[in-house]
């Protein structure tokens, strides 16, 4: 138990530290000198995923954004995702996005790619308030109360504005409400916070693909699916 815990916690604390130190000491990403990635077809410039050395193996262990704890003074609580006790993971995450989306909307499950945990639910664990509110939202959505679900998710978003899983769920509910355009926007916002979390990125890109399909943008949807594939 402790053997895996020490390196995993160390690695995630180190990564967490990297992500919260002030500007100026951000580690250099050696991106070589490839040109013009920003114009590769998708606004936001997510075009060059494959060429970026960002998906370190440890990354799948980074977990929870402590709400309100973005300051470097707060210890960031984290759980190694792949090795987390499975029973708690499954039982405490009934809102798990991937399974619920799959039957409803022809959502294509991303092919497994050696990431130990697999689906979005395993990508990371959430802590108390956000998990509780996402669970509530899931129940409300299940009961057909989409407005209530969206409202609960907005509550979660205020508590943890940079948690991409909240944005993912907001995008899902907007899609269920028939607002494909907003669904795509929320998924894109989610992507901006999902760096180093490939499974989540793939899910977000797949959601964008669905949203674009609903808007009649077949080419854009295909591009998004390709991004989803590349992310993993």
């Amino acid at each position: 138990m402790n053997k895996w815990l020490i390196p995993a916690v160390t690695a995630s604390l180190m990564l967490a530290g990297c992500s919260t130190v002030p500007r100026g000491s951000i580690p250099v990403v050696d991106g070589g000198s490839s040109i013009g990635s920003a114009q590769s077809g998708t606004p936001g410039g997510y075009g060059n995923q494959s060429s970026q050395p960002q998906a370190l193996p440890e990354d799948s262990g980074v977990v929870v954004m402590v709400p309100g704890g973005g300051g470097s003074s707060m210890p960031i609580q984290s759980f190694p995702a792949g090795n987390a006790p499975l029973e708690t993971t499954i039982s405490t995450q009934p809102w798990s996005a991937t399974p619920s989306a799959a039957p409803q909307s022809g959502y294509v499950e991303p092919t497994p790619s050696g990431i130990p945990s697999g689906g979005l639910a395993m990508d990371e664990q959430l802590d108390g308030p956000v998990l509780a509110l996402l669970t509530t939202a899931q129940q409300q959505q299940g009961g057909g109360d989409l407005n209530g679900a969206a409202s609960s998710l907005e509550r979660a978003q205020r508590i943890a504005p940079r948690e991409p899983q909240v944005l993912y769920r907001l995008a899902e509910v907007r899609l269920a409400q028939g607002d494909a355009s907003q669904a795509e926007q929320f998924a894109r916002r989610g992507l901006s916070y999902a760096s180093g979390r490939p499974a989540l990125q793939a899910s977000l890109w797949n959601l964008i693909a669905q949203a674009r399909e609903r808007q009649g943008d077949a080419a854009g949807a295909a591009q998004a699916r390709e991004q989803a594939r590349v992310s993993l």
């Binding site: 100026g24 308030p129 504005p161």
Partner: protein, 755 residues
């Protein structure tokens, strides 16, 4: 004799018929109004509910301030809803529960543990961890109809112990026995008043008082008295005592709050104690019941001694009549009046924010719906932020008051959450309680240099042409406009700064280089950027627009900077979250909406420059008040002759815009940096925000450049600084310097030797 009697019989018959017809008419009146909706209720506006969860940034003092405003009683051991006990960093409270749009929040016992300015523990009374809990929201105002009657409707089963007994004991002892009028009561009143030698008791029953307030005018005449008595009897005929008592409790007038008339015990309880009626204790009940006799005369805020005397008299009557024990009465008499203090959160009004809410509501609802249907409006208003902004403004203006002309300076402040687009606080005047010209919304003033980020953003969106370290010229120039006028911009210090890096133009707010850059980009292009940032004003494409000749309100500026703060995602600012009907049914939602308007890479670069504005440029005095480790981004703005002093800036979780200037548009002694920025910095110090921390977008690389040449270099070299670039636009990395070079040579030598 006979004819006279016949006439008399006939006349009295006619009289009886007339009386009967009148009674039937009165009966219809009585029933019609009593059976329908008895009162219209103004819409109620609520602040955001305070959320509690582990890891939440919340100072204990702010938390207690909010609890005080919500009328929580400090107790040794929490006794029930509305109670709180404080022991060091551990606070236990019994929340009251509330129906929100999303869900019902239960009334529950909650333990909150604080550590520093964070919530470190949140548990239920049983000891189980609680993921998240909400306090009830603070009521911050209502939308009153023309007659300005306000009330909080209550049901008879919600009243606290002693209320009914006290009311009956003081106002109408025979209430449960009489049929609307009470001959016995009148007799007693006459006797009591005669023996006491003063008017201590009226003869009207509660039913008569209700009839008088409910159906009749304030006229004093015998015929009105007769009508009142008839209606009282009719009312008793149709409705039982409970209904009549409930109507009385809601109808009775208990005070005047400016234009607003405080009706009913439900609102009076909120108005005087900031507590729900059901929680009132014996002493509070006695005070309110005592006020029925003369709400103005016994107003406890205006005439506290008189009110206290009256309260204690009421308490004595209760002991006399056995309603409460002598010991209870003695204890109640020891208590102070307990009225909420003026100037505290509970007794403050926030006219500028309510103004914003009303404008939004009037777009979506009929006036009548707002003033009569009892709608519950849930807003994003954060009373803690509001008070911090207000005290920052007051403190700073006081500090600056030595300068000539500062006394005439007015103010507008807008505080939002950049991550949700919610408006948290608004100040519309340097007297924030004064409901008048709302400068935050309506003072449209030239924004000066606040426009500059839009120009630099336009440039940074073209990474093949412009980077933060592109060289630009800060040299005097002039151009002839279409109207033949010559435009000759000048720097604030009236100097030219030669060849500079692009970011330096923004950081130091140089007019020459910025205007030249804007002209290179094209004024229409810059205006397009402003449009995408959410600026609705359509300005003519004059070169002077590049230096902020166009006017915006502080709220519009907040809208513009919101997009910069939120990674290029535009969010229309919102003050209302949702609306419930009086019965608690969901009615309308104002959803969170976002739209990506800019590449996040370009925004990242711009934020970097705006952070440098704070660390080394025109905003650097902010760090006289705040720690250097707190990353902030912002921009100063000063219009011609310092007529307008602006500052707009943000941390990760707080965005604030401050405007200072005179209503008559006269010059002030304040620039953006010496005026508005000082207010902003003081506010940020009080708000204690999270440092700005935008994730590095995928298309951004951080490269080492030589600070003096702008050429690519290596971190080992002197003068090397790190700058962000859109991938592909960064300078080629230079060779390493210092000790590393010989090491490499040695390694080469060793390798050669080995070969």
């Amino acid at each position: 004799m006979r004819p006279w009697l016949g006439w008399a019989i006939k006349l009295s018959l006619v009289g009886l018929v007339v009386l009967a017809v009148f009674a039937v008419y009165l009966d219809a009146v009585v029933q019609e109004k009593f059976s329908g909706k008895r009162w219209t209720v103004p819409a109620k506006v609520y602040a955001r509910p305070l959320e509690l969860f582990v890891g939440q940034k919340l100072a204990k003092t702010d938390f207690l301030k909010e609890l005080d405003a919500l009328g929580y009683r400090r107790e040794g051991a929490v006794s029930g809803p509305g109670g709180v006990s404080v022991a060091g960093n551990n606070i236990e409270l019994f929340s009251r529960g509330f129906q929100f749009y999303e869900s019902n929040e239960p009334s529950q016992r909650v333990r909150v543990r604080f550590s520093g300015d964070y919530v470190a523990g949140l548990t239920q009374a049983g000891g189980g961890n609680l993921a998240v809990a909400r306090l009830e929201p603070l009521l911050i105002g209502g939308l009153y109809p023309a007659h300005q009657e306000d009330r909080v409707l209550i049901k008879i089963d919600q009243v606290p112990p002693y209320l009914v007994e006290t009311l009956v004991a003081i106002e109408d002892r025979e209430f449960f026995n009489h049929f609307g009028v009470s001959p016995k009561g009148i007799a007693r009143a006459v006797w009591i008043n005669a023996t006491a030698g003063q008017l201590r008791q009226g003869g009207s029953t509660l039913t008569q008082q209700l009839v008088k307030n409910f159906y009749l005018t304030n006229e004093r005449s015998l015929s009105r008295k007769a009508t009142e008595a008839m209606m009282a009897v009719l009312l008793e005929l149709h409705y039982d005592k409970k209904d009549i008592l409930e109507a009385y409790l809601n109808e009775v007038f208990l005070g005047q709050d400016g234009q607003r008339a405080v009706h009913g015990f439900g609102l009076a309880s909120q108005y005087f104690f900031s507590q729900p009626l059901s929680e009132l204790k014996l002493d509070q009940v006695a005070l309110l019941v005592g006020m029925v006799k003369g709400p103005t005369y016994y107003n406890p805020r205006r005439n506290p001694e008189r009110a206290l005397e009256r309260r204690n008299l009421v308490l004595d009557v209760l002991a006399e009549q056995g309603v409460a024990s002598a010991a209870e009465v003695a204890a109640a008499k020891q208590k102070p009046l307990g009225i909420t203090q003026r100037g505290t959160l509970a007794d403050s009004s926030f006219p500028a924010f309510l103004d914003l809410v009303k404008r939004q509501l009037r777009e979506d609802y009929q006036e009548q719906d707002l003033t009569e249907e009892g709608l519950r409006i849930f807003t994003s208003f954060d009373p803690i932020m509001q008070l911090k902004a207000e005290s920052a403004l007051a403190d700073t203006l006081k500090r600056l008051s030595g300068r000539k002309g500062v006394d005439q300076v007015e103010a507008g402040v807008v505080v939002t959450s950049p991550e949700s687009g919610e408006v948290q606080a608004i100040i519309g005047s340097r007297q924030p309680r004064f409901a008048g010209f709302n400068r935050a919304l309506d003072a449209v003033r030239p924004i000066g240099s606040l426009i500059k980020p839009a120009i630099y953003l336009t440039a940074l969106e073209r990474p093949s042409q412009y980077t933060l370290t592109s060289l630009i010229e800060d040299q005097p120039f002039s151009i002839k406009g279409q109207d033949g006028q010559v435009w000759k911009p000048q720097n604030y210090d009236r100097k030219a700064h030669g060849t500079i890096y692009l970011y330096q133009g923004l950081v130091n707010s140089y007019n020459l280089s910025t205007a030249k850059l804007g002209l290179e980009l094209g004024v229409p292009e810059v205006l397009k950027t402003l449009d995408r940032l959410g600026v609705e004003q359509k300005w003519p494409a004059y070169p002077s627009m590049l230096l902020g000749a166009g006017g915006l309100s502080p709220l519009s500026v907040a809208n513009m900077y919101q997009t910069l703060a939120n990674g290029g995602f535009n969010t229309p600012l919102r003050g209302i979250r949702n609306v419930l009907t009086a019965e608690g049914e969901p009615l309308k939602r104002y959803p969170f909406q976002i739209q990506q308007r800019f590449d996040s890479g370009a925004i990242y670069l711009l934020q970097n420059a705006m952070q440098r504005t704070m660390s080394e440029g025109t905003g650097r005095s902010v760090y006289n008040q705040l720690p250097r480790s707190l990353a902030l981004a912002g921009k100063t703005g000063t219009s011609n002759d310092s007529r307008d002093s602006w500052f707009a800036g943000f941390s990760q979780d707080v965005l604030a815009v401050v405007w200072l200037g005179r209503d008559d548009n006269g010059p002030t002694p304040l620039t953006g940096a010496t005026g508005a920025l000082q207010v902003w910095a003081d506010f940020m110090r009080k708000a204690d925000p999270l440092p700005l921390d935008m994730p590095v977008p995928d298309n951004v690389v951080l490269a080492w450049v030589d600070a003096s040449s702008g050429q690519g270099t290596d971190p080992s070299c002197p003068n090397a600084v790190q700058m962000p670039y859109i991938r592909g636009s960064q300078p080629v990395a230079g060779p390493a310097c210092g000790i590393q070079a010989p090491v490499n040579e040695v390694m080469d030598w060793v390798r050669g030797w080995l070969d």
